[in-house]
């Protein structure tokens, strides 16, 4: 699952522009629209400050 490190996010909006599913919003800091996110990870590559991370979901 995609998570946003709010300490690192600057709100540059680059991830919003490159998300193929329009699953990110950045009017303020970046937020994920869960129902649209497909965990494709494109945004992770486009974040200049490494604020987007993948959190492995626990299967337990």
């Amino acid at each position: 699952m995609l998570v946003i490190n709010e300490d690192r996010c600057v709100g540059c909006g680059l991830c919003v522009s490159f998300c193929p599913s329009e699953a990110l919003k950045a009017w303020g800091l970046c937020t994920v629209i869960r129902e649209r996110c497909t965990d494709c990870l494109v945004c992770v590559d486009y974040c200049p400050v490494d604020a987007l991370e993948i959190l492995e979901e626990s299967t337990e």
């Binding site: 600057v10 709100g11 540059c12 909006g13 680059l14 522009s17 303020g28 590559d45 200049p48 400050v49």
Partner: protein, 435 residues
């Protein structure tokens, strides 16, 4: 670990990194540029969004200056078209165009009596021609010695917005220097976007056998016996050691330090890094409409608002930036404090309220396409010019870019000039290995 050998490794493909790599490639140095993001240019790039070409940072570049000089020297095309640098100030609900000659005096005399205008102009003349004011007070505090007139102060509030710094934070000395350096310069922008401009440097590097790897992360900078020996990068799932005689970092002085390990740095340098390399915050909005939201081909300032806002309808000058039958208004604003991280929700609220009041058709016709903040590790500028040297305490490890810019115009010229200074130093100290 697999190894490759280059003369020089460059971290980051912003204006500083690519200018340094292009100059070195043309001097016979085998050069590798490693860029973390999937595209080149850093904060001097652009991207396509809903048919619009939007900037990652830079909006314009000086023409005929140090940047264009480097492009020429390395045989790169410079696809930049000049834009009108007409400035218009909306003050007290009226528009005041700044004349090309004697513009500042003309503007001031609209609001101040002759004796006050003369006193302020005389102080400005001394600041330009005799002695630069102190950098330890803000331009606002400097001005308050000569005028208390809100409308006169608003003119200068507008001018500091153009320099991307808050009126209350801009050091008086830096303001005067920028006004002096910027006066008479021609600005332009690449009609196909900054990414296309930066690709010209990539072409020039590759034509000389250099390489530019995008989407490639530097793990660390190798430091041995107080000097650098290269970098370790992650590439296609593997770690790769790049040995190099010099390493140039365009990732910002802070990141350079973290990649090298702060135990390798001189304590005095670390102190200067903390105190002098202070990133600047800024806000940018891309606004779409069917007809131009302002009918002015230049930069318009709304300096009396809650925030320092300026706008330009860029599609009037570069129709390429917008899809057919659409217009693009770009708005920029200096936040409450330039040197502190900003509160995005609060700042955007203020800026949008200012735009609504300044542009009566805003609510009916404007659609906010994209909002960008620059701050912290992705700032407007990593520091004001002259903060620290390009050389780090680690031998053969240099910084380039806006964190280490010398005293030249803010933004891209500083990045390019820092690259030229580093390349000149490398040329004197390190010969390229025989091919």
């Amino acid at each position: 670990m697999k190894k490759q050998k280059y003369d020089v490794a460059v971290i980051g493909s912003g204006m500083g990194g690519l200018c340094a790599a292009a100059l070195l490639s043309h001097q016979g140095y085998r050069t590798l540029v490693v860029e973390k993001l999937p595209f080149v240019g850093g904060r001097a790039s652009s991207f396509n969004y809903k048919g619009f070409t939007l900037p990652t940072g830079s909006l314009y570049v000086e023409m005929g200056g140090v940047v264009e000089g480097i492009f020429k020297e390395v045989g790169a095309d410079f696809p930049v078209r000049p834009f009108p640098i007409d400035l218009c100030f909306r003050i007290g609900g009226k528009d005041y165009l700044m004349a090309k000659k004697g513009g500042l005096r003309g503007l001031i005399s609209n609001f101040a009596p002759e004796n006050e205008t003369q006193r302020l102009m005389a102080a400005l003349r001394r600041a330009f021609a005799w002695s630069e004011p102190s950098g330890s007070i803000s331009v606002r505090d400097w001005l308050l010695q000569y005028t208390q007139n809100d409308k006169v102060l608003a003119i200068f509030r507008g001018l500091t917005t153009y320099q991307c710094v808050n009126f209350r934070n801009m050091p008086a000395g830096e303001f005067m220097r920028q006004l002096k350096l910027g006066g008479g310069a021609t600005a332009g922008a690449p009609p196909q976007g900054f990414l296309e401009l930066m690709r010209q440097l990539v072409k020039s590097i590759e034509a000389k056998g250099g390489q530019v790897w995008t989407g490639c992360r530097v793990r660390h900078i190798i430091v041995e016996d107080g000097g650098t020996k290269g970098i370790v990068v992650g590439r296609e799932g593997d770690q790769l050691e790049i040995t190099a005689n010099a390493v140039i970092s365009d990732a910002g002085p802070q990141q350079t330090m973290e990649l090298s390990g702060n135990e390798n740095f001189d304590k005095g340098y670390l102190k200067e890094l903390r105190e002098k390399v202070r990133p600047l915050s800024y806000i940018g909005l891309a606004i779409s409409s069917d007809r131009p939201l302002v009918d002015f081909r230049g930069v318009m300032f709304f300096p009396e608002g809650r925030r320092q806002v300026s706008v330009m309808c860029t599609s009037l000058v570069y129709p390429e930036y917008a899809p057919p039958r659409k217009h693009l208004l770009q708005a920029w604003a200096a936040p409450d404090s330039s040197f502190l991280p900003l509160d995005p929700a609060k700042e955007i609220d203020m800026v949008v309220q200012d735009l609504r009041e300044a542009i009566p058709r805003f609510d009916r016709e404007a659609e906010i396409l994209h909002v960008s903040y620059w701050q912290k590790d992705w700032p407007m500028y990593r520091a004001l010019p002259g903060a620290i040297s390009q050389k780090t305490p680690i031998e053969n490890l240099y910084n380039v870019g806006d964190g280490v810019a010398p005293l030249v115009p803010l933004g891209l010229p500083g990045c390019a000039q820092s690259a030229r200074m580093v390349v000149d130093d490398i040329k004197q100290r390190i010969k390229p290995d025989a091919a």
